[in-house]
């Protein structure tokens, strides 16, 4: 055999032909792409719009209807706002759609005639109408309510108007983030306790009451937390302060080297594992052309990353991480955790208090005299300063500014005699009192001296028409598809399993929890993940109802700056990373749930 191979003409050699074809294919593809890129370069030169990323740092000069930064300082902040708006819908939507979908899926399997038929009817309607039509319909439904008028001003329990919906809500206070982290921590702790007790039960065979244990610890920890214990979480701010200081001290080159090193390490390990697997008895250490290609590809990718890291791209990325360029530095709205740069132990969250309009129509305030100083304690409602208010009917009206929270004053951000706009922070306060969440009901108020009305911030929860339409549309649409997944998953568990469970004497609830659902979930997870991906992608329809998610914000940006290509690249990177994140979470659970086969 070997001898004949020797005399094979090269163009009759399968291996040669295979690689020749692929190289020609690759070259052809690259030349086509190169051709289009050349076109783009020429076209952009002709239109005098040089493609660049500078606009990310410039002030876009437009406002966003809702979100983290309604008046963004930079393009990056604007895109961040869009991204967070998108996450608001995606994350709440995934939970809501899963719960609703599970109920609908079980209803579809119900033996009750009316329940089964009505859920099937809902399924057939929602599944067969385009999502966009549904979203438009929900929007039109809310918009058909009257606008907010003068006689609407006042307090309500629930209110619906063409401006949106408002309902009572537990609003976040300054301590809310600490409390949320605390809640997460105690859930994890009680979960661990449950598992620990179950382990003892399985090992020793005695009754250990795992559920009682975990619920008792949860309740105890919750009570401790409710009466101030949650402040222990403040230690995270302390640690985060050191970490962030430390990270900023390290030179940029360190990050470039770190990422390159990690890539080389991963590449080495992957390649080594591959070579080892080839040396197993089955493969007998024979390397064919595809294997060589795989190894070469690994090396090329690693080299490419290393070269990229030490080019201007890598320098830019490191600069972004270090935060050299201020415009690119973002705090992502979690100041409690990431502002502890002064390395002080933060048992209490410190906030920048913004100037509020003390009287109607106030636009600016000029501090006449500070009545507080750093280190002093203030209680809510105390007079902290006297000031002139400008923008009202009477010019330079003298007013008193009152403390919004109880706490210790950390620093004064402006000197007396200086004038600032409403909404700008003017002193720093360490909040020592106040519940993490405060219950309140909605309130309709006038916007300044204009004739327009709005739902007041911090009073109940108000959601805009766009948010309502896109959220309801996406949740309902996904829930319907999830209900099909759930139904298929439950049906996939064979009847013998539940019969076996019943013969063991399990009750119905325990049967579902211990026998049917664990097996159904295994079938359900991959299609469920697909539905979550679809939900995340469908939030992009928010642009149709003027909800400022990342696509809508991007469109506003390129209309302003003319940079269509970078915006498109940002969309692509953003959605790709969201898709990757969701699918890797699903894959993780999928692996965890997999039956361990012999």
């Amino acid at each position: 055999m070997k001898n004949t191979l020797k005399y094979l003409v090269f163009f009759r050699n399968v291996v040669f032909l295979k690689w020749a074809f692929q190289i020609v294919f690759l070259l052809g593809l690259l030349s086509i792409i190169w051709n289009y890129i050349q076109n783009a370069v020429v076209n952009l030169e002709n239109t005098n719009i040089a493609m660049g990323w500078g606009w990310l740092g410039e002030t876009p000069g437009v406002s966003i209807a809702e979100g983290l930064y309604t008046l963004p300082n930079s393009g990056l902040q604007m895109i961040q706002t869009g991204m967070i708006n998108m996450f608001r819908i995606t994350i709440t939507g995934i939970f809501a759609a899963t719960i609703l979908g599970t109920f609908l899926g079980i209803a579809r399997l119900s033996k009750n005639y009316i329940v089964e038929k009505s859920s099937t009817g809902l399924l057939e309607v929602v599944r067969n109408v385009p999502l966009l039509v549904q979203i438009y319909f929900f929007q039109a439904l809310v918009l058909s309510f009257p606008r907010l008028e003068v006689f609407d001003v006042g307090d309500y329990f629930i209110h619906v108007s063409a401006k949106g919906l408002a309902f009572p809500w537990f609003n976040r206070g300054p301590n809310a983030f600490l409390m949320m982290v605390y809640l997460l921590a105690i859930f994890l702790i009680s979960n661990r306790i449950y598992k620990w007790r179950v382990e003892i039960l399985e090992r020793e065979g005695r009754e250990t009451r795992p559920f009682l244990w975990s619920i008792t610890s949860l309740v105890t920890l919750f009570i401790v937390g409710w009466y101030g214990g949650f402040r222990a979480v403040g230690i995270i701010g302390f640690i985060a302060g050191y970490i962030s200081t430390g990270l900023e001290l390290v030179p940029a080159i360190f990050y470039q080297a770190l990422i390159s090193g990690v890539t080389i390490l991963i590449g080495y390990r992957v390649t080594k594992k591959f070579i080892d697997s080839k040396k197993s008895e089955e493969a007998q250490g024979v390397f064919i052309d595809d294997d060589y290609f795989k190894i070469i590809l690994n090396i090329v990718v690693v080299l490419l990353v290393v070269v990229l890291m030490f080019s201007s791209f890598g320098a830019g990325l490191a600069g972004f991480l270090v935060g050299d360029e201020l415009t690119f530095k973002a705090d992502w709205g979690l100041p409690q955790f990431f502002n502890g740069v002064e390395n002080k132990l933060h048992w209490y969250p410190s906030i920048d208090v913004e100037l509020e309009a003390a009287i109607d129509g106030m636009k600016k305030g000029e501090i006449i005299n500070w009545l507080i100083e750093p280190g002093k304690k203030v209680t809510e409602g105390d007079v902290i300063a006297t000031a002139y208010a400008t923008g009202t009917k009477i010019d330079k009206q003298e007013i008193e500014l009152k403390a919004s929270h109880t706490g210790n004053v950390e620093s004064l951000l402006i000197e007396k005699g200086k004038s600032i706009k409403v909404g700008t922070p003017f002193y720093e306060l360490e909040v020592t009192d106040g519940a993490p969440f405060e219950y309140s009901t909605p309130k309709v108020q006038q916007i300044g001296t204009t004739k327009f009305k709005e739902y007041a911030d911090g009073h109940g929860k108000s959601i805009s028409v766009g948010y309502f339409a896109i959220w309801l549309g996406v949740v309902l649409y996904t829930a319907i598809f999830i209900s099909e997944v759930v139904r298929a998953g439950i049906m996939a568990v064979s009847k013998g399993q539940s019969e076996a469970g019943m013969s063991l004497g399990l009750r119905r609830g325990a049967l579902l929890r211990l026998i049917v659902l664990p097996q159904a979930i295994r079938v359900m997870l991959p299609p469920m993940g697909n539905q979550y991906l679809n939900l995340a992608k469908n939030t992009s329809l928010g642009i149709a109802v003027a909800y400022p998610e990342v696509v809508a914000v991007g469109q506003t940006l390129y209309n302003q700056e003319g940079q269509t290509l970078p915006v498109f690249l940002i969309w692509m990177m953003f959605y790709s990373s969201v898709s990757l994140t969701i699918s890797s979470i699903i894959n993780y659970y999928n692996r965890k749930m997999k039956i361990v086969e012999r």
Binding site: V129, P146, D290, S579
Partner: protein
């Protein structure tokens, strides 16, 4: 009688009140469903809804601004589709028969349902007026309730009696289709609908007078119905001819092409181009195909056959990038595909003859369609495209599938290939395209794509949308087809190798037919998704069916003011989309059952 009642009561008890939980669920769900129905009924019936905004704009919905002088072309398109449908129903006439008493039973149940809902329908409904005050009005007076109740009661009792007579008469299921079509066509002649009339001051006369539907739809629909019937009988007559069935299947594929390139478009043909361009190309390629078929058994030609195929392949790919006429490019592609199958089919004289006929017909059709497609349209409309409303939605849905399906097959084959570079590239394309929502690709088509094209080359927005749709739907199709490819057992590949098939023949004749057959249901559901997704073009400003309902009618103030009637129109749009997607999904379920795919 008593037994029947007892049996029914028992059935109700078992289905609805088997346990306490079940009873609670029954009561809660019935309450919800009833309230939903009452709410919807009130919503539809209140006087602030103007359903004439839907009825009066039907023409706008269907063809947007297509000129009235050329309406015969629209009717021709619709009629041709119905003729084809009639022929197909006749050709594939099923032998399934239904008993008439089963139908009476169904009608009796429908009557009962109607009675029930007429009784529970609300008399008064409240809605919020523009000033924010709640208005209560009578939407369903007792007299109109009685006017519906009494005839329904009589009919229901009639069906009950008919059902219990147990008439032993059955009818063919396919024959029933023409009866279903007969009812709406007959109703067009009888029913009068409210129509908008304006007085001298161009003010609307209220209440709107009842008028018969204009002759513009009455006569065409009748002609269409008659030709449907005739074609149904022709189809029945030709039922046993297998070749006719094959021709029919291909014609269904070509029909949209014919409609969109010739009938709807009214192309202005430049005879000079036909004589200097089309006919010579046609003659050359026909001669080439003819020579291939005739020479295939020639030993010298056989020796260099693979070389010939290689040259053709290179020419086809190269042809895409050089400035030869479109017809030449497509003919080259077709010739390469044709040459691949020639050796396998032209073993007998019979096979050779049919190959030549097929080649001739294919070339004639291709030349004809491309000439129509490439010519300027003779229709003058305001706006950039002669397609608008429902015709645009269909164009996007059908052509979206046409362009994305072949690309999907290619991508799936590439992703399943043994060649690593090809596999990586195809996987990359599929995953990249799928990870980004469709709307961003539409924005790419509407704003960014122009940047990548050479200076001076410009495409209509519809074409650009079709270009990105090809990739987007193609990636989804590819994933479905890949599932089918993976379901093919390895033995099939080995068997094809064993009888000495080339890779092309193996893929085209053995693997793909089986793989595609296995994934028909998923492909149909992907096509349904593509149809629903076509509504997204409304965001980038194309005037599709949804845009007409959502924006155009809502902004209409001349001659009649329809501002603020968006909800009615959106409901109508939803119903139309629902009818098409629901029918399609039900048909695909039936096909799935017939192929026995669910049982595997």
């Amino acid at each position: 009688m008593v037994d029947t009642i007892k049996k029914n009561i028992k059935a109700v008890q078992e289905n609805l009140f088997s346990s306490v939980g079940s009873s609670i669920l029954t009561i809660v769900t019935s309450y919800l469903v009833l309230n939903f129905f009452r709410g919807m009924f009130g919503f539809v019936m209140t006087s602030d809804k103007d359903w004439l905004s839907v009825l009066n704009n039907m023409q706008l919905y269907m063809v947007q601004a297509y000129p009235e002088d050329d309406f015969i072309r629209v009717w021709l398109s619709v009629g041709l589709t119905f003729v084809f449908a009639g022929l197909s129903i006749g050709l594939w006439r099923s032998e399934d028969r239904s008993n008439v008493s089963v139908m009476f039973d169904r009608l009796f149940k429908a009557g009962l349902g109607l009675l029930f809902f007429t009784i529970v329908a609300p008399t008064y409904t409240s809605y919020m007026g523009n000033d924010g005050f709640v208005i209560t009005e009578e939407v369903f007076s007792s007299s109109s309730r009685l006017r519906i109740l009494i005839p329904t009661l009589v009919i229901t009792v009639g069906f009950f009696i008919l059902k219990n007579l147990k008439i032993n008469f059955s009818y063919n299921n396919s024959d029933a289709v023409f009866f279903y079509l007969f009812i709406p066509v007959a109703l067009i002649w009888v029913v009068k609908l409210p129509t908008i009339q304006l007085d001298q001051n161009r003010e609307r006369i209220i209440p709107d007078p009842l008028m018969p539907i204009a002759n513009s739809t009455k006569i065409p629909w009748t002609i269409i119905f008659v030709s449907f019937l005739v074609s149904y009988f022709i189809g029945m007559y030709l039922k046993d001819k297998k070749r006719v069935k094959n021709v029919m299947s291909i014609s269904w594929f070509l029909l949209p092409l014919l409609i969109f390139s010739w009938i709807f478009k009214k192309p202005q043909i430049d005879m000079g181009e036909v004589l200097t361009g089309d006919i010579p190309i046609f003659v050359i390629f026909f001669a080439l195909g003819l020579a291939t078929v005739l020479l295939i058994n020639n030993p010298i030609f056989k020796k260099y056959f693979s070389l010939y195929l290689g040259v053709l392949a290179v020419l086809t790919i190269g042809g895409l990038f050089i400035g030869i006429p479109m017809l030449g490019k497509v003919c080259l592609l077709l010739l390469s595909l044709f040459t691949v199958v020639v050796p396998a089919v032209s073993t007998s004289k019979e096979g050779k003859r049919s190959l030549i006929i097929i080649w001739f017909v294919a070339l004639v059709t291709l030349t004809f369609l491309l000439r129509g497609g490439a010519s300027e349209t003779g229709i003058v409309v305001p706006g950039s495209s002669i397609f608008g409303g429902f015709s645009l939605t269909w164009l996007l849905a059908i052509f979206g599938t046409y362009v994305s399906f072949p690309l999907g097959v290619l991508l799936a084959l590439g992703r399943n290939s043994k060649l690593p570079i090809v596999r990586i590239v195809c996987t990359g394309i599929i995953e990249l395209v799928r990870s980004v929502p469709y709307i961003t690709w539409l924005f790419f088509a509407s704003v960014t794509l122009a940047v990548f094209l050479p200076a001076g080359v410009e495409f209509n927005l519809i074409i650009r949308v079709l270009m990105v749709t090809a990739f987007f739907s193609g990636a989804y199709f590819a994933e479905n087809i890949r599932g089918g490819l993976q379901s093919i057992p390895k033995g099939q590949y080995e068997a094809a190798d064993a009888i000495g098939m080339s890779p092309f023949q193996k893929t085209g004749l053995i693997i793909l037919p089986q793989a595609l057959r296995a994934v028909i249901p998923t492909l149909v559901s992907s096509a349904i998704t593509a149809f629903k997704d076509s509504s997204l073009v409304t965001i980038i400003g194309l005037f599709d069916f949804l845009t007409i309902g959502k924006t155009v009618i809502d902004n209409q103030s001349i001659p009649v003011n329809f501002v603020g009637h968006q909800r009615e129109n959106l409901i109508f749009v939803a119903i139309v989309y629902w009818i098409f997607t629901f029918t399609l999904s039900r048909r695909s379920m039936k096909v799935e059952k017939r192929l026995g795919l669910g049982e595997r």
